[in-house]
Symmetry: C2
Subunit: 316 residues, 2 copies
């Protein structure tokens, strides 16, 4: 597996949409596709492909549902960069997924928790049948027991899923954790390609992604300036700018940052802040930190930290 | 050396002073000393101890020169946290350095480039004679040839210098670079303790510092919120919050962030930005990126990047 060149999956629209409620203009997404192509980035994740009948829209932009006719209007002509979309177990109707030849999408990624891994595999099998590349993104692996992880990976290994992801949902994994998990994934899903999706709570997203690459992971998730939920992700610009691959070109990425991400940064917040760091240190979901950042106590770090240290939360 | 517990050297005042021209209030520095003590941080670098006769002050705050009588007023009573100060080769007069017992300072760190290593050692020997702990911080090691590095380290090894630092001046070192350099330092300066000072151009400052720790480095430089020149340093809060040491307490650090660093951030800029990332990718000194950030073209990334790619700069 080590001789397979790593690929970048830019998740700006999908994971970044969790920050701005998928409020990306059509021009933004068209520019993104054009420039990621020129940059040599292999995949662009264009959003979630969950079903609007199963979740509330809450005014979300179209990238939360990725209607196929709409996507064809945005990307009338496919280029080198492939298109990916993410679905959540329980939030997608199988009948909404066209056969691949009728869709703009190439890769469908299924996100699930360990407890739903068979549901996730079953969904991925449907998409595989319809011609798509598929991945299974197992969330919150830091909370799974070892036997659950091993059994789950064995099931993935016996399926048609193409790629299985190490997902650091809480941004709480250190280099030794990443090395350990990748060894477990390799051992129990030896037939699968591996992916890695990191969060930057502890400023380790890029470092952990590089480490994954060195250990043979071939699908590297990233986003422009790391735009993504809470502390955000591994920055696409750092991967394009530092991976030694003659197909990668930094300038088209810099153009995107200059034109689109500077104004975006002025509208919404993501990236390393102290509450997200605290959540990462404690291996906690970032939701309480996100609530804090959206409140007028956003910089009350001590109070926030003490909230996690109360007896109630840590009673046995 | 691996059984020696790592120590944190908080460089907020010294390296952060490069951002705000050492404009820290006395209250800031007193609070910092008090809270670093409560947090269990082993060293606080209180500034530069260069001589005002040898460099222009340019309106800098007192932490650029660290007059001994002034320091005694700020820290009338020493606690657990030791005090360190940095000097640059060629900018310090030996006669300005009191014997240790008359000074607040415990550790004097000498910064030099490889070409000045004998000058650096000679200075450190003087400070050693006067009773101080000493370190030699060799800057820009990524630009030294291997034989220069080996010979320099051998000289350090034969001196009374206590600690020799791996300094990633340009924030351009990756994990494999850090591992490689630490192995070289261990081999050619086996009698010395090691330190590491990182910059965050590629979002690798914390990761590289942790890696140093795992490889047996015992002096870990950091600063609050990573405040330091250009892309800044490894954040003190991440080391205090994640190193498994019963003496470390995060809450006093969070108090400092809340009280002092939030307002500081509103006044001056440091940390990851695209121009600093570009400088790190290209192993360039951050000065041109700093000039850009101080200009009204601060977000003209493409133009900035092209400036490095011109024929003139890369002619043979």
């Amino acid at each position: 597996m080590n001789d397979v060149r790593p690929k970048i999956v830019d998740c700006t629209i999908r994971d970044g949409g969790l920050v701005n409620n998928w409020d990306f203009s059509e021009e933004f997404v068209k520019d993104l596709y054009e420039n990621l192509n020129r940059a040599g980035v292999e995949y662009m994740e264009i959003g979630y492909k969950n079903s609007p009948e199963l979740i509330e829209s809450n005014g979300a932009g179209p990238w939360r549902f990725c209607d196929d006719q709409f996507l064809k209007k945005i990307i009338p002509e496919k280029k080198q960069t492939k298109i990916s979309a993410l679905v959540d177990v329980g939030r997608v109707k199988e009948e909404d997924i066209l056969p691949r030849e009728e869709s703009v999408v190439d890769l469908i990624r299924v996100a699930c928790y360990m407890k739903d891994i068979e549901k996730g595999i079953a969904l991925a099998e449907v998409f595989h049948e319809r011609g798509y590349e598929t991945s299974l993104n197992i969330m919150a692996v830091s909370n799974a027991l070892q036997y659950q992880l091993e059994e789950g990976l064995q099931k993935v290994n016996d399926s048609h899923v193409d790629i299985v992801y190490v997902v650091d949902s809480f941004g709480s994994l250190f280099n030794r954790d990443i090395e350990f998990l990748i060894d477990v994934f390799k051992k129990h899903a030896p037939n699968k390609q591996l992916g890695i999706h990191t969060h930057n709570n502890l400023q380790l997203a890029f470092a952990n992604t590089l480490l994954g690459k060195e250990k043979g992971v071939t699908y590297l998730d990233a986003s422009l300036m790391g735009m993504g939920r809470a502390a955000g992700n591994c920055p696409t610009e750092l991967l394009v700018g530092t991976l030694d691959n003659p197909h990668y070109h930094l300038e088209p990425v810099l153009q995107l940052l200059e034109k689109h991400m500077i104004p975006m940064r002025e509208k919404v917040e993501w990236g390393y802040t102290i509450p997200y760091a605290i959540a990462g240190m404690l291996n906690e979901h970032p939701r309480t930190a996100m609530q804090l950042r959206a409140s007028d106590q956003k910089d009350d770090y001590v109070q926030f930290y003490k909230g996690f240290m109360t007896v109630e939360k840590h009673s046995q």
